[in-house]
């Protein structure tokens, strides 16, 4: 017996896709505003990118080329399975090269390579409400967004400085979009915040469990919140990438043995691999070969 389930193109039915596209259009029209949408059950658990997958499924066409990254890497479980999912249900071409992709679905990173006009970056968002941990009531946070009452966001930054001497928020660092809405950029490291500002690519954010979609259209002002005497700063790394010697990129710390030795390597695997292919070598790049 051979029963093959017959899916609509890109898994979701056309009515659902229309509903999500309407939400996306509204989100683009009001940058940074969280648009509610009726999130569907997806064949994966909440927290694995159900929001991002629904957004991707609604915008993807047969000619699109899809790249999926998880913490910057193309080869982690989440990235591999979402890429395989769309290869199966939409029969689209997939890639790991940032420049070849038309749609990039991401969890927790923005690629190092500058995105171009025409590309779309789809973020998976766990908690879309930046004010949530300070104000648990949804009715109240909606009112605060509506009336532009954002003093509370600075209370969090104040607490950081009071406790740690500097703004210790390193990811999900709140931004103000086009001078109006305060937005959670999803748990990307704050290192990536400047890349959102005036980005040529369209940025879409999908939160499946929380049922919200929001967006940053191309060429939009995105400003990280800060204090006059404690300005916004991104993370700095003492060493370049141990494999490709890249500087000014976001690095992951990898523990090498149980003596506590460690290395810092590019979080963006595609960027690291293309640099290696171009002949760049870091201090530990020969190590794998030696082993």
């Amino acid at each position: 017996m051979n029963i093959q389930a017959d899916y609509n193109f890109a898994y979701l039915d056309e009515q659902t896709k229309r509903m999500i596209r309407r939400a996306i259009l509204k989100a683009i029209a009001i940058p940074g505003y969280q648009v509610p949408f009726s999130s569907r059950e997806m064949p994966m658990p909440y927290g694995w990118g159900t929001g991002g997958v629904q957004v991707t499924a609604s915008i993807i066409g047969p000619d699109d080329v899809l790249k999926v990254i998880d913490q910057g890497a193309d080869d982690t479980t989440n990235a591999v399975s979402i890429r395989a999912f769309f290869a199966k249900v939409a029969r689209v071409k997939t890639t790991t090269h940032t420049s070849e992709a038309t749609i990039i679905q991401t969890r927790h990173r923005i690629p190092e390579e500058q995105l171009r006009d025409g590309q779309i970056l789809v973020y998976q968002v766990p908690i879309p409400e930046p004010l949530r941990f300070l104000e648990p009531r949804e009715t109240e946070t909606r009112k605060m967004h509506a009336l532009e009452e954002y003093g509370l966001m600075h209370v969090k930054l104040y607490e950081d400085i009071a406790t740690h001497g500097h703004i210790a928020t390193t990811y999900a660092y709140p931004v103000k979009v086009e001078g109006r809405y305060v937005m959670d950029p999803s748990p990307t490291p704050k290192f990536d915040n400047p890349k959102m500002h005036m980005s040529e690519a369209l940025q879409l954010f999908g939160a499946g469990r929380e049922k919200r979609i929001y967006a940053i259209p191309p060429y939009t002002n995105v400003v990280s919140l800060d204090f006059d005497d404690h300005p916004f700063e991104v993370q700095k790394f003492d060493k370049p990438c141990a494999i490709c010697a890249a500087e000014g990129v976001y690095l992951d710390e990898v523990i090498l043995d149980d003596q506590g030795s460690r290395m810092f390597v590019c979080s963006d695997t595609d960027n690291c691999e293309s640099r290696q292919a171009a002949g760049h070598r870091g201090e530990l790049s020969g190590m794998e070969a030696a082993q």
């Binding site: 009112k143 009336l147 009452e149 003093g151 509370l152 209370v155 607490e159 204090f227 005497d229």
Partner: protein
């Protein structure tokens, strides 16, 4: 200038279905004046306070407020954004339970600084300095600035709540049983503090209390409520020393003598 009332309450009524919350309450409040609202529990004191402070829309009647630019505005004709702005700049609200008026999970300094940040202050050093200054004024030691209010005693929490409200220099304070639940010595110190602050800052205040001693100490004028109605009003000393209404007489004679 000061012979214009700051707040005019005109025939405010609030019904909860068929039940009366408060009915046809009218009074004027002048700058620098402290008005006490007394009565037994269930007499409509808190309903009245909430109606005046825009926390609860009255069924009928109006509340006029003289803004800083001297224009008189009906509170319930204002947009919600204006009302909320008024609440966090020109007004203060001291809750009976400090946990309702404080953010228990952020430090004392941030609690005091929140209003400053809400009106656009973006300099950490200045915010912190102002917060420490206000903590000092309400007798909280500077080294407690980074502690959370949950580590504070009841009296300290109440004083912190007052500092948090006063930091933007409001002209009108609402206080709902500010000394409720505190022991008598702490109560006395808090009353002293409130009295001093009200006098120094020229604040107008409406204090809801069931404790006639608190009313005697803090207020210039008082109104007595029973079953949602105002049954007597006048200068505090007059009402307490020479109560006219039988119910007020009962209330005054019920004070425990030690």
């Amino acid at each position: 200038m000061n012979n214009q009332p700051l707040l005019s309450v005109n025939e405010v009524s609030k019904f909860y279905g068929a039940r009366i919350g408060c009915r046809d309450v009218s009074f004027d409040l002048y700058p620098g004046e402290v008005l006490a609202v007394v009565g037994e529990s269930g007499s409509g004191k808190t309903t009245l306070l909430n109606c005046i402070s825009t926390r609860l829309e009255p069924t009928s009647g109006s509340v006029m407020y003289r803004m800083r630019d001297e224009t008189k505005r009906d509170l319930y004709q204002m947009s919600e954004a204006e009302r909320r702005f008024l609440m966090r700049t020109d007004w203060g609200f001291v809750h009976q339970n400090p946990a309702d008026g404080l953010r228990m999970a952020v430090s004392a300094g941030a609690n005091v600084g929140e209003r400053l940040m809400a009106v656009g202050d973006r300099h950490y050093g200045n915010i912190r300095e102002t917060a420490i200054d206000w903590l000092g004024r309400v007798e909280i030691n500077e080294d407690r600035v980074d502690d959370q209010p949950r580590a504070f005693s009841g009296g300290m929490r109440q004083r912190l709540q007052i500092a948090r409200n006063l930091v933007t220099g409001p002209r009108l304070m609402f206080m709902d049983e500010p000394t409720g639940g505190l022991d008598v010595s702490v109560q006395a110190r808090l009353l002293d503090l409130i009295r001093g602050l009200v006098r120094d800052l020229g604040l107008a205040a409406i204090v809801v209390t069931h404790d006639l001693a608190v009313a005697r100490l803090l207020s210039h004028r008082m109104i007595v409520m029973k079953d949602g109605h105002v049954i007597e009003s006048g200068l505090t000393d007059r009402v307490l020393d020479d109560p006219h209404e039988p119910y007020t007489q009962l209330l005054v004679s019920s004070i425990l003598q030690v």
